[in-house]
Symmetry: C2
Subunit: 330 residues, 2 copies
């Protein structure tokens, strides 16, 4: 169904407020979810279906647990992952403005940060390079195993240039966890070689995969190695749980920001990254490929088109569920 | 053939000195090459075969082109990649000792840095987290293309813990460039789906692959995205060439180091990373897998065993070629 963006935003805002969030929190969550929804990823409004996003009644103030000129560790204090991550990103940017570098970790949240490309992109819009990592409960196995040990452990990187930032945003798993949830809800099969069942057999049944484990994105040791690194950066490095150890509701996140000016002239850097994008985009294509994108570009195109049209296509079922959520709130 | 490590070291040292390097340079290059050779990777002594490693007669002093308390940019001034990278690593460690973070880039080299896990491991041995990236001439295509546009663009990450460091060291290409060279020399086929010929057909012939392009390691857009990020970090960010633009002999490298103490207690961090390693190692295995390794572990085991035995197995042809190189030097 085609939905006007203003109407969608209104509906999403209503649902989020109904989940117990105050005005500023609601605006952050709306912004992060719309970013993903406009880009057609499964990090968008599907997250509002069910009870996963309700404000935790025991949430307190976000606390600064440790800080230096270059760093901060935030105790998320059970607040929404998106709200805590936004704060972390702002602190990392602030430190980078002052000193050229900032690293900020968060712990003690257990809701989704949404599409972490959102935060990497904001960093790049400041003219800085941003690296963002997000932890969650184990759902992904390492290479050679079928036992869930890592979160889906996404990596996002934002790079400024003269145009829209490069925004790489990739799970280190072969599929997003929400992809399994969606497939199960829609009674669809998942692709071959992305998940094991609980007995270590590859499965196309999302219900069995939900009881088993996702594979690393490349089905191999490099992807598993990257997943492990993200587990370190979002676990031990930020006082959060990891690999089935610690409180299962203590997820961690990490934001690293630095100024290219530490090494080169920033304006020349931006120009050269734009040159690089052009070179890549102009590469000869293999048959069947009509356009070569750099990371973030395809999503930006989709989002810009939707914004121009003022409306967005949403799957009928998903929109109906969102409407039901809003009505149940009253 | 089984070769005593002392004898191998002696031979390697003779070849390197014959290539025009002074005593301190030679010791660095021996150390980096032996690290890889002891681990059985193709970043070892094979690099000494042919003329790729000779000291550039116009090489001058390594120069500090730009610096801040947190950063440095080194003009490699045509010195050996390994020598320049070692200096970069040392400066990044020094800055991290003083300030918790260090970022050092290099440009104006065009010989191999060797296995960049070597440098990431040294950083981890200092108790810091290290990220290392190395650029080179375009040999790898992006997703959807068959035209070489990226270097093999390896990523290395070193993580301290109570035991041997975690050392992830992965090319973002489906194969190392030296793997193609070796396969061609040995008249062996390469695996399916790792390289295109110059017309965009997948090929198993290493000679055709050398005229074409390697694929990203996952044959897909995530691997290509990571390759692009490394191209930025080792190109525009460090005043080096990138994507067929600029002087083809101006390769760049980047070292990023930070202290976990910026966010958490370092001793607890190390202990928890060791806990994580144990959890991963103890995961249930799929049939056919006898041991689950964390990155670096398999290579460390092989190296430790060789050191214990005092000797190492080297392919007959390769060793004969190394001996010829030494003799031609006299």
């Amino acid at each position: 169904v085609k939905v006007a963006i203003t109407e969608l935003k209104h509906l999403v805002r209503r649902v989020i407020q109904g989940l117990g969030y105050d005005e500023p929190e609601t605006e952050i969550i709306v912004d992060v979810l719309l970013y993903a929804q406009l880009r057609g990823t499964n990090q968008g409004i599907v997250k509002l279906i069910g009870q996963g996003m309700s404000k935790d009644p025991i949430a307190g103030e976000i606390e600064l647990a440790r800080e230096t000129k270059l760093s901060a560790l935030l105790n998320g204090n059970r607040n929404a992952g998106m709200v805590v991550m936004k704060r972390a990103m702002e602190l990392a940017i602030q430190r980078t403005r002052n000193n050229g570098f900032g690293i900020v970790g968060t712990y003690n949240t257990s809701t989704s940060t949404g599409a972490i490309g959102y935060y990497a992109r904001k960093v790049a819009e400041e003219g800085f390079i941003g690296l963002v990592f997000a932890g969650s409960s184990p759902t992904v196995c390492t290479y050679g195993s079928y036992e869930p040990i890592f979160g889906t452990n996404p990596i996002a990187v934002g790079i400024p240039n003269l145009g829209d930032p490069i925004v790489l945003d990739m799970a280190t798993s072969a599929m997003a966890w929400y992809g399994l949830v969606e497939a199960k809800a829609a009674a669809k099969q998942i692709p071959h070689n992305v998940a094991y069942d609980k007995n270590g057999q590859l499965t196309k049944d999302p219900a069995q995969a939900l009881e088993g484990a996702l594979l690393p994105f490349d089905q191999s040791y490099k992807g598993a190695g990257l997943a492990l690194i993200v587990e370190v950066l979002t676990g031990p490095l930020v006082a959060a749980s990891f690999a089935n150890l610690g409180d299962s509701r203590n997820w961690g996140n990490l934001v690293i920001v630095f100024d290219p000016e530490l090494l080169v002239d920033k304006d020349l850097f931006k120009k050269q990254v734009s040159d690089l994008i052009r070179q890549v985009s102009n590469c000869k294509r293999v048959p069947g490929i009509t356009e070569i994108y750099v990371p973030g570009q395809r999503g930006d195109n989709v989002a810009q088109e939707a914004i121009r049209a003022g409306e967005i296509e949403i799957e009928d079922n998903l929109y109906a569920e969102l409407q039901r959520e809003a009505e149940s709130i009253g």
